[in-house]
Amino acid sequence: MPANAGIGLRAQHHLHVLSESPDVSWFEAHSENYFAEGGSHVECLSRIRSRYPLSLHGVGLSLGSTDPLNREHLANLRRVIARFEPALVSEHLSWCSAGGRFANDLLPLPYTEEALRHVGSRIAQVQDALGRQILLENVSSYLQFSASTMPEWEFVAGVAAESGCGILLDLNNVYVAAHNHEFDSREYLEGIPRRIVQEFHLAGFSRIDLDGQELLVDTHGTPVCDAVWDLYRAALRRFGNVPALIEWDTDLPNFDVLQAEARKADSLRSALHAVAA
């Protein structure tokens, strides 16, 4: 994957990307959006893939669920990987199903030894089935479980050690969770081993008022905020030359706004890289 920043590909971008061939280093697409056997999405991604490097990012495998691993979903994932040959494949450190019912949302796990062992073995199973390493993304969260016995960063690092997966560190999610649960986002970065982080996510969030308490919600509908850019600088210092991805999902702006965010990420990265060199 190029070291420059990529952009999260949404269906609304397909025609623009195909007709304009914008200057973008790479794209990341949601795996499930291309599970269909045919149709316009699949055709567009095939054509985009022939011009740009690609990462596939899953939202529905439900890695943290205690239901049996969904074999059909895994088979679909294997099929899209064979079809689009992505450089990176990632999933979320979350769960979205119980008893066969799906919430189709990224639900947080309790940070316990039991959950750590469970997710670690599930990721190992998935990596075996896919025949490759996957990256695991930390999620935003709006609640914590009483059962948790360790901080989130210790859980993330533990799962990576247990399964051998890489980490996709979503810096917006770190910032949102740190605000919502009152911990120090720098301590989070310090808790993640240096070599395992292979991608960053950058995005914007919204603020909601929960009876006088401000909660940050990971809506991906605004520019990356200054505090998250600061965290990105800190992450670049700690983890080195790791490619970042700009994510935007709601209230999509013109494509050039996303390109400007990606260029900003590139300039911060090259400035730090130049200093380090």
């Binding site: 969904n70 119980a98 008893g99 919430a103 309790p110 009483s146 059962a147 919600v217």
Partner: protein
Amino acid sequence: MPSLRELQVHLMDALLGAGSPPVTLLIAGPGAAAERRLGVYANTVQGNFRDALHSTYPAVWRLVGEDYFRQTAREFQRHHPSRSGDLLHCGQGFPDFLAQLHPDDGFTYLADVARLEWLIQESLLSAEHAPLDLASLARVPPAAYDGLRFELHPTLRLFESRYPALAIWEVNVGSVAEPPMIDLRSGEDRIAIVRQRLQLQFHRLSAGECFFLHAFERGECFSAAVDCGGEADAAFAASAALQRFVAAGAVVAFTSTVKT
């Protein structure tokens, strides 16, 4: 402490409105705050499901209006939660759910419009297929036709309704601000939906043609399909129908059931 399994099942019950176990006890912080934090997730879970249903059923959404659609989507999700990590499938039971809600009132047609929208989605997402190899069909001796099994295009879907559902769908997915009224008694639908490349095509069928294609769909051979068409419609002309469906790209392959 609950097991991971218990925690997940209780939380899912709470998010889908399928019960109210003391789930807030699982969440750190005071009970009322825990309830509100859980509500942030519940809103997303319901919103994602509703958005997926809306993108599958845009005409139904327009026909019933946003408020009714939101309420119906919520009820539908409570009884038929998503069963897949891919939300494309979550609306499969929606036409039957609407049929149960409106078994015999002025809105009975809604379920048929929904059925049409589901078939359209299926067609849009099915695999491509090369057209029929006409040269190889030309080499089949006429006497062997009866034993041929014709294969339909993977995007082909057959739709029948006693309402003019396609006309209702067409005016409600367009950009017209005020869709024209359509008389529910203005005709019934028998339609073959097929996608060529990225273009959906709708072919109106006679009763004979419809039975003929259904027979192909069931894997019956040509002679049995001809009989089905003829039983439904005395004027059914099999060779003209076959030519029509080959030209439309609806029939894409054949195999012989007789060893030569």
